[in-house]
Amino acid sequence: MIPKQPVGIIGWGAYLPQYRIKVETIATVWGTYLERYTEGLGVEEKAVAGPDEDTTTIAIEAAQNAIKRAQIESSELGAVLAGSESPPYAVKPTGCTVAEVIGTTPNILAADLEFACKAGTEAIQFCMGLVSSGMIKYGIAIGADVAQSAPGDDLEYATAAGGAAFIIGKLDGKAAASINASSSYVTDTPDFWRRSEQPYPKHGGVFTGQAYFHHVINAGKQLIKELDMKPQDFQHAIFHQPNGKFPEKVAKELGFVSEQIRVGMLVNTIGNTYSGCIPLGLSAVLDNAKPGDNILVVSYGSGAGSDAFYIVAQDAIEDKRELAPTVQDYIDRKEYVDYSCYAKWRRMIIGLEAKR
């Protein structure tokens, strides 16, 4: 998919809660072997949403940072698209709350998207289309989650909270990066799911990994082939990070080397933020990229599908960097919590709801 009129990222903004829990802390609670997660999954600690934070507040923080970097009036936005698999409400859009808080209502397209961990990159694709067609001037695409996992499940060692937002507009001198092309690879694959009445997702164990590799590798290969490019042409690549091992394997399979995925690789210090994962990885790359750098992005959403993007950093990226906190600023701002605090904040203590 190549936009008819060139589009770009006018501003980007990330947000991570300040709280962290160490994987070691979780392993101690469940009596599991730490190495299984630190070495097996390559995750040391994960970001935990505070007691007054949820997907909506994370999306708002990220959107406000993106607007700062875009240097536009929020009234210039024509669409607010929030991608998540953990919206606070089953029925009541996150998108309109974000739109209200950032001051874009009422003449605004506001919507929520859900496709497991790739809802955020879908939001980017939708904004690309709206901008490229001339229907809107700017659109904001957000990927954010307070990632869900059942207590004691393998998922719990990595699921984290965070998100990032991108303001998409036509490609001009204000653009930090161009989005030259995108392609998607989607099949009906039941590797991970959550029914609406269930609090935590279920997954197919080993099969989930098989589904991940199949979709990410095929989406990446497809876009690289369409562009007639080689892995060596990219300075940066970001592959969805459910853990630290999977993206490394994908990189190797596609012909990339570790250095190319290093800057966008965040999972070992913040965990897997589901819909926020790729947006945060891309934000970290934009925090560091030089004008002219080629960036490959491949997201993954269970169910299942991958969105791939070819992005090129533009000259304006240098001046925008300091206008909002970087991902590294947020990674460095941290305070550790213990499991009891984490359990309380994540509403895992039975009886809390009854008390209300």
């Binding site: 072997y33 299984r36 279920k202 997954h203 197919g204 164990g205 080993v206 099969f207 098989q210």
Partner: protein, 383 residues
């Protein structure tokens, strides 16, 4: 009783076969076996399967599998006997041919386990133990084996090393088996330092979860030469039982079901253990393998570790055990395992086992047990 020969074998590779279904797996094994046997017309089907109901939400699978394997219209029966379902199917197929009820019988085994999570699969597997007296109290199959391994280690003053050595040998063998789930070698260091599951059992002491199907074609020996130049005869068969609940056993370090099934199989075959050239045994855990080698009459109680050290079970040793890699490394698709064991011995006795061939093997033994030895089958084959 008529003499019974095996004239065809078929197997799928064992593994995480996400692109296969219960029926497609079974059909592949059946087609391979039929082709191997020269496509005889099949009169009856016996299929071993432990828990399609729980793994695949599918019961009534004898009718389903016979239909989708192209065998519709013949009597088809499913045998369920926990982990020994595969050998149970063989035993019933053997009796059907030996008695004259049927001439050409297809015996298969299939288990499609990987469509469930590891956690769910582990719960399903634990249903082979007593749900009221064992599972109810949190005692899993690995828990029982862990207690027995601890008792064995204390009673005979052995460490974990001999058990790890057994697992390393299984991986060595599997590295030569194209049907194996884990066709690679491992080291003592990895075997000793793998994660504990239930002390003293570590991950490398355990058989994995996996999908797979295997099939055999049985017929009266008098017809076998028309189909193959190398029929393999089933010369002995025994089926033994023990108390279902582990804690009611008289002896925790000896499995009566194995002793009884071996006694009957040796008697029918008219041989002693010394005549066996190789065997495929049920090493769901390395401790199970140790007890089995001893209860089949090959080694004194407590001496298996020393026998392994002296090279007894290696491929070029006096009694190669599990040339396929065993449950540990060939894999353990539960209801199919007994059939895989016999398919391996048939290939060995035909001299068709490739890099893992035991030279000059003429007599082979298979042992497939359920639960912690609640039941056991021993079959003896001659090439």
């Amino acid at each position: 009783m008529r003499k019974v020969a095996i004239i065809g074998v078929g197997m799928t590779k064992v593994g995480h076969l996400f692109s296969e279904s219960l029926r497609s797996l079974f059909s592949k094994a059946v087609r391979s076996a039929l082709e191997d046997a020269g496509n005889p017309k099949i009169d009856a089907l016996y299929v071993g399967n432990m828990s399609a109901g729980q793994f695949n939400n599918q019961e009534n699978i004898a009718a389903l599998l016979s239909d989708f394997a192209g065998l519709n219209g013949i009597p088809a029966t499913r045998i369920e006997e926990g982990c020994a379902s595969g050998a149970g199917a063989i035993y019933n197929g053997f009796k059907a041919v030996a008695s004259g009820s049927h001439d050409f019988v297809l015996v298969g085994g299939v288990e499609k386990m990987m469509d469930t999570s590891t956690c769910d699969a582990t719960s399903i597997v634990s249903t082979v133990t007593d749900q009221e007296y064992e599972a109810f109290l949190g005692l899993s199959l690995v828990g029982i084996n862990a207690m027995v391994m601890r008792l064995y280690m204390n009673t005979f003053d052995v460490g974990r090393e001999p058990f790890a050595k057994f697992s390393v040998q299984m991986h060595d063998n599997a590295s030569k088996n194209p049907y194996a789930q884990f066709p690679f070698k491992t080291s003592m260091d990895k075997a000793m330092n793998s994660n504990p599951v239930a002390e003293p059992i570590h991950l490398m002491d355990c058989a994995p979860l996996g999908d797979g199907a295997a099939a055999l074609i049985l017929c009266p020996e008098e017809y076998a030469k028309k189909f193959t130049s190398s029929p393999v005869e089933i010369i002995g068969a025994g089926h033994g039982m023990d108390t279902f609940i582990f804690h009611t056993r008289d002896d925790f370090l000896s499995l009566k079901a194995i002793r009884d099934s071996a006694r009957d199989a040796y008697r029918m075959a008219g041989i002693t253990p010394g005549k066996v050239d190789l065997m495929e045994i049920h090493d769901s855990f390395s401790i199970t393998a140790f007890l089995t080698i001893e209860d089949l009459g090959f080694v004194e109680k407590g001496a298996t570790g020393q026998a392994i050290d002296e090279g007894l079970i290696s491929l070029d040793g006096p009694l190669p055990v599990n040339p396929s890699g065993g449950l540990k490394a060939r894999g353990h698709p539960i209801g199919a395992t007994g059939v895989y064991q016999m398919a391996e011995v048939v290939l060995q006795l035909r001299g068709q086992a490739g890099a893992r061939q035991v030279p000059g093997a003429e007599t082979g033994l298979t042992n497939n047990i359920s639960g912690f030895g609640a039941s056991s089958y021993v079959h003896i084959l001659r090439g």
